[in-house]
């Protein structure tokens, strides 16, 4: 039987213990395990148990053209998506920062894509993009434009996926920027107006410098998420046509669950982890400098 005084004395450890254990089991262990797997070659197709091979699996992955193609696509997807979301998010935030009738209603509408399930979004957009009967081509044709093949063409598949990402995540950027704009102190604006600055000058020389830390925070959060986008790509194209939308995450998934090469998948995930980590590190540095 546990001594009740023992509970009393160690209450600071005992209470957060379940949460700590949970994090250790569900997060720390998988990361360490994946890391240790990356030094092995474990290929179920050969019927052999995992074998320690040092950095050999890393070398094999780095030599694989499919890995570099997936890496390039991951960056392309992320920069295109986050870039557009930042600009659009800022425009929306500036509009919504003013007072006008129906503002709250628009804010509510903006939130809707954010709360939808990604897999459901993917399935719905597959129908929109359907080249024969889809809404997207119907809209293009009604405007007198050429219909596109959207996700069915190697050249348009990534921008088409980015469009879905923009549709879903611009609202989050808007909300972050809006919170930033609302927190700005009014004094610099007043003195600028007294000094006779025009609207553009106020925006460029006062608003932008003051919201830069917030913009950067938004970009980091969104980039980390965009780098590891998996759900909409998996449901919409599964990396196709061919391999034209295979990002690092999809590639790692294929390696582990379609090809059963767990060691190689671990290496790909390690690189993804490294990219996300170094990206957030870099932007944090930039942010600090912005403050100084």
């Amino acid at each position: 039987m546990l001594d009740s005084r023992f509970v009393d004395r160690h209450i600071r450890i005992l209470f957060p213990l379940p949460a700590l254990l949970f994090i250790a089991i569900m997060m720390v262990f998988p990361i360490l395990y994946t890391f240790s797997l990356s030094f092995t070659t474990w290929n179920l197709a050969s019927g052999m148990p995992p074998r320690f091979v040092g950095l050999n699996t890393y070398i094999e992955v780095l030599k694989e053209p499919r890995f570099w193609a997936a890496m390039g696509r991951t960056f392309y997807f992320t920069f295109l998506a986050v870039g557009c979301e930042t600009i659009l998010g800022m425009i929306w935030a500036l509009i919504l920062n003013r007072e006008f009738f129906g503002k709250e209603g628009i804010k509510l509408l903006l939130l809707l894509p954010l709360v939808s399930t990604p897999v459901a979004i993917g399935i719905a957009w597959v129908l929109f993009y359907e080249p024969t009967i889809g809404l997207a081509n119907w809209a293009l044709k009604s405007l007198g434009l050429m219909p596109l093949k959207w996700i069915a063409d190697q050249n348009t598949v990534i921008p088409s996926l980015v469009l879905v990402d923009i549709w879903q995540w611009t609202p989050m950027m808007t909300l972050i920027f809006l919170a930033g704009l609302a927190s700005l102190s009014p004094e610099p604006y007043e003195s600028a107006r007294v000094d006779g600055a025009n609207g553009w000058q106020i925006f460029w020389h006062i608003t932008v410098p003051m919201v830069v830390p917030i913009i950067l925070t938004g970009i980091v959060l969104r980039s980390i998420d965009a780098f590891k986008t998996y759900d909409i790509i998996y449901t919409m194209t599964n990396g196709g046509p061919g391999f034209a939308s295979e990002t690092l995450n999809i590639y790692a998934y294929n390696l582990s669950f379609n090809y059963f090469r767990f060691g190689h998948a671990a290496v790909v995930l390690f690189f993804l982890f490294l990219i996300v980590l170094s990206f957030s590190f870099l932007v944090n540095r930039l942010k600090d400098r912005g403050h100084g």
Binding site: M1, L2, S4, V7, D8, N43, L44, A45, S46, G47, E130, P131, T132, I133, K149, W150, I151, A152, Q154, T237, N238, G239, G240, P241, G242, F243, N254, F257, N258, Y259, F260
Partner: protein, 430 residues
């Protein structure tokens, strides 16, 4: 005092949770099925089996690719609680056999106490049994056979005064004549999605005189015959197929056929029931099915054991599991599957059943008889790393569709050969 009470309650709860596993006394089996028409037949019958035997059967079902992933990851951890599962002999047979995940069924089949004579294992054709045999022992019971057929729209064919095409020239002529995108009808569809396309492309490959692998030589998808087949398939789908075909597997192809947007579809023989179901198909009354057309080098479409059922070697109740396997693969259920769902089951005697002869689609039955002597027993490269090899070969198919067969097919095919040979070598198969 109060705190002591709380601690006591906590300890009691922990003990209760730990002991919970011990309460189950009834025999239970865990069965994994694929989302396949056969599962729709089997699942409602399981309650009856439970009543007869007193065994509790827990069924889970998954899509084919998810099923492979589920099975593989569970077996790889060596702590699987699975007893019986559906499996694709050509896709995962070698992988599972090599890793020792299938229970060897030969000792059970030879033991008359475990396998009653009425089960009649001889009912399975030798070619079907060979697909599930590894090193002279049987590891899986064949369940469903599939071969590639041509589905076509009888109304469109009648209006255009066409007969079902007998060879590739007639196939292209028919596709060209019926291709009418302005009115929402495309000439022909077949799978164009990377890995998924490979199995349905296989019959085109064979009929051009090509093959996937040659014994002792490795991959041969870069021979002139194979390149002609890639070009033909790509050109056909690019010119007369619906847009977006490179993202289409069987589900998307079936959907455009059911919606009335294509005149022809080449795929496995198991979809007729779904095409003729008025609740799913707009063209239910106008679906015909014909033999796969011949190519320049004759006609040998694939005819394969697409699904089987096996007992897990990690099972703790192998005898119970085997009993369930015998029941689930019995002749009675096979007949029911053929009559109710039109599934082409692997047992040969079911075709002579009067109920089946009365109910089964005569056109499909005709293709079954004709494909018997000419069919090839595989629709993908026979190797352990099938998934990765399919993706490599599928890339050539995608390129051919995207370039209307004019791209550097030979170069891409050569790359695929290198990749497949590398995989064969890694698995010790070349």
């Amino acid at each position: 005092m109060k705190r002591k009470g709380q601690v006591f309650v906590l300890c009691f709860l922990v003990l209760a949770i730990l002991a919970g596993g011990g309460f189950a006394q009834q025999k239970t089996l865990r069965v994994l099925l694929a989302n396949h028409p056969y599962m729709e037949v089997l699942r409602p019958l399981i309650a009856e089996y439970e009543k007869q035997t007193g065994t509790k059967v827990n069924v889970e079902s998954y899509d084919e690719n998810q099923l492979t992933q589920k099975l593989t990851t569970e077996f790889a951890t060596r702590s699987s609680t699975m007893d019986v599962f559906m499996t694709r002999p050509l896709q995962e047979g070698k992988l599972f056999f090599k890793n020792g995940w299938y229970e060897n069924l030969s000792p059970y089949l030879k033991d008359s106490k475990k396998t009653p004579a009425s089960y009649n294992f001889a009912d399975y054709a030798a070619s079907a049994v060979s697909a599930v045999t590894h090193k002279n022992d049987v590891y899986t019971i064949p369940l469903v056979t599939e071969w590639e057929v041509l589905y076509y729209r009888t109304d469109l064919f009648k209006k255009a005064n066409l007969a079902p095409p007998k060879n590739f020239d007639e196939l292209i002529a028919a596709a060209k004549k019926l291709h009418d995108p302005k009115n929402g009808v495309y000439g022909i569809v077949s799978r164009g999605q990377r890995g998924a396309a490979v199995t349905q492309f296989s019959s085109y490959l064979y009929n051009y005189g090509g093959d996937f692998i040659q014994e002792g030589k490795g991959a041969v998808v870069d021979t002139p015959q194979a390149i002609e087949a890639f070009k033909f398939y790509g050109r056909m789908l690019a010119e007369y197929g619906p847009p977006g075909v490179t993202n289409m597997s069987w589900a998307q192809c079936m959907a455009v056929f059911q919606a009335g947007n294509v005149a022809m579809w080449t795929d496995a023989s198991v979809f007729l029931g779904n095409l003729k179901d008025p609740s799913k198909s707009k063209v239910a009354d106008n679906v015909g099915v014909a033999m796969f057309p011949a190519g320049p080098k004759g006609n040998s479409p694939y005819s394969v054991v697409s699904w089987g059922m096996a007992v897990s070697r990690q099972s703790k109740n192998k005898d119970e599991a085997y009993k369930f396997l015998l029941w689930a693969t019995s002749r009675e259920i096979a007949v029911k599957a053929m009559v109710d769902k039109g599934i082409t089951m692997a047992r040969t005697s079911v075709w002579k059943d009067p109920g089946v002869q009365k109910k089964f689609d005569p056109q499909l039955a005709d293709t079954a008889i004709k494909v018997g002597p000419i069919g090839k027993p595989y629709d993908r490269p026979l190797m352990t790393a099938v998934g990765e090899a399919r993706d490599a070969i599928g890339e050539v198919i995608v390129l051919s569709i995207e370039t209307k067969g004019t791209g550097d097919i030979a170069g891409a095919a050569k790359k695929a050969v290198q990749k497949v040979n590398e995989l064969l070598k890694n698995a010790g198969e070349l």
